[in-house]
């Protein structure tokens, strides 16, 4: 049998990062099998394979390849996302250190292996150039996440959020698949470029079915990235999942969802921009407003951050609406900054959490006097989420909103800015609790040098990208330019 008919050596070099992650995951599972107590080794192998895979992936910066007969494309866009996922994976692994034990569970090898599998799935989602690959990547990601969310199997909250995530995730997959099938059926292909050329040459079976297909694809994606009205699962899942998993769940997969959504709509359906513009406009508006108003009344910090991430998804929708190079680069910038802020915030919450305590606003009273550095970092992440200068959150919002204004979405941006102002309330509420209230018993954080270093780096990068965003802006502009 001549394998070169199916793939070449270059194809295999292209997916080397995925192969490294797969090998790393298998090594971890072997360690789990033969030397269960070697938790540090498993963590080490996990981080090491992410670092090596990241090294291989970053070598692709500046070049672009089409692999596996057009199924996978490698360019600066996908490489940017690859590195984002790996960073999120590394941070998640570090903050998971001993977390499950503190919650009465047990860190098993599967935990790290699943994070590696999820990272692989996300990489396929943004590298894929074919509906089949996007689907496979999304499912590899989702199946890993279902297990991770339910990892504390003796905890009823973890169980409940796993079942909710599973049912709604599988439901969304059904919609996504039916949409993909209708697009395949009307155009006769699943490749993005071929779909686009079939649409421009008007070689489609039925306009109605194609629109229906695109609508269903959008519903599938909207479920995955939690846009209103498909966001109901996210607060429950984010609250019930182990916090280290929530940190992962609300950053990298959301970036992957937006990355794939952007790719599908930019490469496969650019000719139909006008058709789904109004729909996206309404989605962006609803998502911002509903997310914000729900976040105002929460008493649980994890739940508040879940609604806040719904709101951020609404802002990101504006970028998809803009759909030019500026919009894409603004989304990339926003996604990176958003991921750093949320990893930091959830990371700190996971350090403070102990049994039932540490997740309510009330528990944070008086924290600043006992643990000034930790409180300062958490306050910084909150200010950045709210979009105060000079943090990176401000630059991210500024670039996103200005790209939308230059395309004429004035009203949407006015509403978005009003939303940002409202959101200050629930972010600052946490800061007020930490700094201006006192309490007899405060939370005792679990501090390990490795964890402190990671939190410190995240906080520094938020300040750094806020004061000197130039380098990052150049990078995202390049990533967006090669892509469109």
């Amino acid at each position: 049998m001549d394998l070169s008919l199916y793939f070449t050596r270059q194809d295999l070099w292209g997916i080397l990062p995925e192969i490294v992650l797969l090998v790393g995951a298998l090594i971890i599972l072997s360690i789990e099998l033969f030397a269960r107590s070697q938790r540090a080794a498993m963590l080490g192998v996990g981080i090491l394979s992410l670092v090596i895979a990241g090294g291989f992936a970053s070598k692709n910066f500046g070049s672009s390849f089409i692999l596996f007969q057009g199924m996978v494309t490698l360019n600066d866009y996908s490489t940017f996302f690859d590195l984002l996922y790996m960073t999120a994976g590394i941070v998640t692994m570090v903050i998971s250190y001993n977390y499950l034990e503190r919650k009465g569970g047990e860190t098993r090898g599967e935990y790290f292996a699943l994070i590696l599998f999820a990272t692989m799935g996300m990489m396929l989602m943004t590298r894929g150039n074919d509906l089949v690959i996007i689907f496979l990547g999304m499912e590899l990601l989702s199946l890993s996440l279902y297990v991770l969310v339910g990892f504390l199997r003796h905890d009823v909250f973890s169980n409940e959020s796993a079942i909710k995530y599973l049912l709604l995730g599988a439901f969304a997959t059904g919609f996504f698949l039916f949409g993909a099938v209708l697009v395949y059926g009307t155009t006769g292909t699943t490749n993005f470029q071929h779909i686009a050329s079939a649409i421009t040459n008007n070689e489609i079976l039925s306009d109605t079915l194609l629109s229906l297909g695109i609508g269903l694809l959008l519903v599938g994606f909207a479920f995955k990235v939690a846009l209103v009205p498909f966001h109901m699962w996210s607060p429950d899942v984010y609250q019930g999942a182990p916090t280290s998993v929530t940190a992962f769940l609300c950053t990298a997969p959301k970036a992957a969802g937006f990355g794939a959504l952007l790719k599908v709509f930019l490469v496969a359906f650019p000719a139909l921009h006008a058709d789904w513009q109004d729909l996206l406009w309404a989605l962006a508006l609803l998502t911002m407003i509903v997310g914000n108003i729900s976040a105002l009344v929460q008493t649980n910090v994890k739940r508040m951050l879940a609604f806040s991430s719904v709101t951020h998804a609404g802002y990101l929708c504006i970028g998809i609406l803009v759909l030019n190079e500026m919009g894409v680069s603004a989304i990339l910038f926003y996604l990176l900054v958003y991921s750093v802020m949320n990893l930091g915030a959830f990371g700190i919450i996971s350090l403070l959490e102990k049994e039932e305590k540490g997740v309510n606003f009330k528990d944070y009273e008086g924290l600043a006097s006992k643990h000034p550095w930790l409180s300062a970092s958490l306050a910084l992440f909150m200010l950045s989420l709210a979009g105060f200068p000079p943090t990176a959150g401000f630059v991210a919002k500024y670039t996103l909103f200005s790209s939308a204004i230059s395309e004429g979405y004035i009203w949407l941006i006015i509403i978005a800015i009003l939303n940002t102002l409202v959101s200050v309330y629930y972010y600052v509420r946490l800061i007020v609790n930490m700094y201006m209230r006192t309490s007899e018993e405060t939370l005792v954080p679990f501090l390990h040098p490795l964890l402190s270093v990671v939190i410190f780096i995240l906080a520094i990068s938020i300040m750094f990208f806020g004061v000197l965003p130039g380098w990052l802006i150049d990078t995202v502009t390049q990533a967006a330019r090669i892509y469109t």
Binding site: Y146, G150, I163, L166, L167, F178, Y184, G185
Partner: protein
């Protein structure tokens, strides 16, 4: 006799809708899960129909991937349901409300 494409699409659309209704209106987690499988099978049916109509095998390959996914999802899903049942002694979705504010 060749079955016209419209019939396949209508049947698959009906099956898909029945699946969606099942997810929305049934309260037993297992039944909801079965309804999701029905949705995926409706997708498979449409894929085979379109594949035959266009005379290319892309759709049929896709069917294999969807079937594999469905099997993987069932194994993960049932494991989660068993873990849930051990802790809560129920599989009724209406009782999954521990996290409302």
């Amino acid at each position: 006799m060749v079955v016209p494409l419209e019939h396949v699409i209508i049947l698959s659309g009906l099956l898909f809708s029945i699946g969606v209704m099942g997810v929305l209106f049934r309260r037993n987690v297992i039944i909801i899960f079965m309804s999701i499988e029905l949705m995926l099978n409706a997708v498979n049916l449409a894929l085979v129909g379109f594949s035959r109509y266009h005379n290319n095998v892309d759709g049929q390959v896709f069917v294999f991937l969807v079937m594999t996914l469905a099997a993987a999802e069932v194994s993960v899903g049932l494991a989660i349901i068993v873990a849930l049942f051990r802790n809560r002694q129920t599989v009724n979705i209406n009782e999954m409300n521990l996290m409302k504010n």
